[in-house]
């Protein structure tokens, strides 16, 4: 792999390495002849600058890091896509890392991104503020939190106001006659898990519905815990007639079990999921969701990160959420007698 360096280009063009470098970086202090000769040499040799060396000297790498908790979660896949497109249009390349909802892996990726001297990092953080997250802050590496935050860590963030959507959902379900709403919560170690749980608790209390603690199951945002949660809720002496899942993967896990048990969504159990995923509209009945814009979130996160890199301190942004009612939660509750037993 005989690498072609700027010296080869300079030699072929008959100029010095310094001049070649100037031409390549668009420095105006170059003559048209040099420009032409260097350009020709670059094409002739198919020269690609060594990003390592460039970044070493100039302390910029034109790359940002994006760390998501789970690429297989469609919400984060979409987020990765929008962040990447937005960054690309600003001339930045995105290095994507996947924490797999594990703090240890998050730390490993953060270390790597720090080592590679990315110009900035967008992260949907998990855990407390310990480990590599702390290093990030102490080194003053430009950082933006997305979707989630960490208490006590003061970093600009783009998050969703889950409160409105959840309140709408609880009121909507109450209006249909539901009094016992089950909730499959995200982990309390994440800010979204806590916020959504608090919003649910408050909304249920305000609507005068059952506050039975057994109606809440604490999952981990991954599909298997949605299945486990549904099982737990159905086994209650007095099971819920409606269910809200705090993210799409746990909803999928719950739906899988409902299918297996032969229970009908929207009839035997009303169902609403947080996160609007294209697929949810294709189910029969279509799934009601609490929707928030992943495009806005990704785009704004990139804009904010560029601001931080430029030395500014942008205000955090909170995006709205709203209930989208579909077939899975549109029927009034059936009288208990006609409901199927499990």
């Amino acid at each position: 792999m005989a690498d072609i360096t700027i010296k080869d280009v300079a030699a072929l063009a008959g100029v010095s390495a310094a001049t070649a470098s100037r031409v390549l970086s668009g420095n105006p202090a170059t003559s048209p002849q040099s420009r032409d000769k260097v350009a020709a040499a670059v094409i002739e040799l198919d020269y690609r600058p060594n990003a390592q060396a460039r970044a070493l000297r100039s302390t910029r790498s034109d790359s940002i890091g994006l760390l998501v908790p789970d690429v297989r979660n469609p919400f984060f896949a979409d987020l990765a896509h929008t962040v990447e497109q937005a960054a690309l249009s600003e001339g930045y390349v995105t290095l994507l890392g996947n924490a797999n909802e594990q703090k240890e892996q998050q730390d490993r990726y953060l270390d790597t991104l720090i080592s590679r001297r990315v110009d900035g990092i967008i992260v949907a953080p998990l855990g407390d503020g310990g480990g590599s997250i702390r290093s990030l802050i102490e080194r003053e590496i430009p950082t933006v939190f997305v979707d989630r935050t960490i208490d006590g860590i003061d970093v600009p963030s783009v998050t969703t106001d889950s409160e409105v959507g959840i309140r709408q959902t609880v009121q909507h379900l109450a209006a249909l006659g539901h009094t016992r709403i089950g909730y499959i919560s995200g982990p309390q170690a994440t800010s979204t898990g806590r916020d959504r749980f608090a919003a649910f608790t408050a909304a249920v209390a305000d609507a005068g519905l059952s506050q039975d603690p057994d109606l809440v199951y604490f999952g981990d945002f991954q599909a298997a815990s949605g299945s486990a949660g549904l099982h737990a809720l159905l086994e209650l002496h007095d099971p819920p007639t409606a269910l809200l899942a705090a993210d799409s993967l746990m909803a999928v896990g719950a739906i899988a079990i409902l299918h297996k048990l032969g229970l009908r969504i929207g009839t035997d159990l009303a169902l609403v999921a947080f996160d609007d995923i294209e697929w949810f509209a294709l189910l029969d009945p279509a799934l009601s969701v609490i929707s928030h814009s992943v495009e806005d979130m990704g785009r704004i996160a990139v804009e904010m990160l560029l601001e931080v890199i430029a030395g500014h301190t942008p205000e955090s942004v909170v995006l709205p959420s709203e209930l989208v009612i579909r077939g899975s939660s549109s029927l009034p509750i059936l009288p208990a007698s006609s409901r199927r037993k499990n």
Copy 2:
């Protein structure tokens, strides 16, 4: 951002930079005292080696690149996840790029990965062998193709033998009485698009079914083209009674339209999709799919790439596919008279 360098560590430890470097890289020619002092200094300063500088000198970066055509396609999201986990367990970090099914963006990402001097690249390529793919080969950068290949480019690959699964599908549909099977094809610019189309054509001919060319619609593997394809097929004078979609996203696009038109899957139109996605099993009726193992594909791709990096030339691997029959294709065909008109 006052960066801490190995010199700071060496100074604090009271040794030279050379010795500090030796300790950090586990070189045995170091004394226990030096080891202890350097280790203490590293922790004290929270030192992170500069990956750029390290890679510049040692010509290894301990990172690989993975370029997928579309992160939002669950198949590639899963692939990204398995590749990343497999690479991580071998000590490599994965830089993920998203070509967005566009050759231009693929080239841009390949250029970036080449510039960053990744140790190797796993790519699901698109286009002919031109552009940056050619550079990759000419520079002898360790490369492995995954899912797709490019004619005339001799690179180890892991692909799926779509032929078996497609043949099973056509025979299965024929056994149910279908004679006119619609096919939403992938683009002929991709090897998977071509292979699957060829397999479909051959299977239909062998089964003695209709070879009407109007039954084939050429999409681009993204959801919108699935919708367009379904529309086109339904508008035929003599529309198909069964449909095979060449990937999951186009199937999703088709399903969305079926819902909108009020047509029932499995009854009004039998449906089978290539790629097994968790969600497909949750639809009602559950979707029949041609399944192939994304875990195997990702794991083997990483193994192969490490072999190439080590200087060997592994044999290409072709993984099997198989039909999984579910509700969307289990009913015998209805007599034409009882079918709904569109």
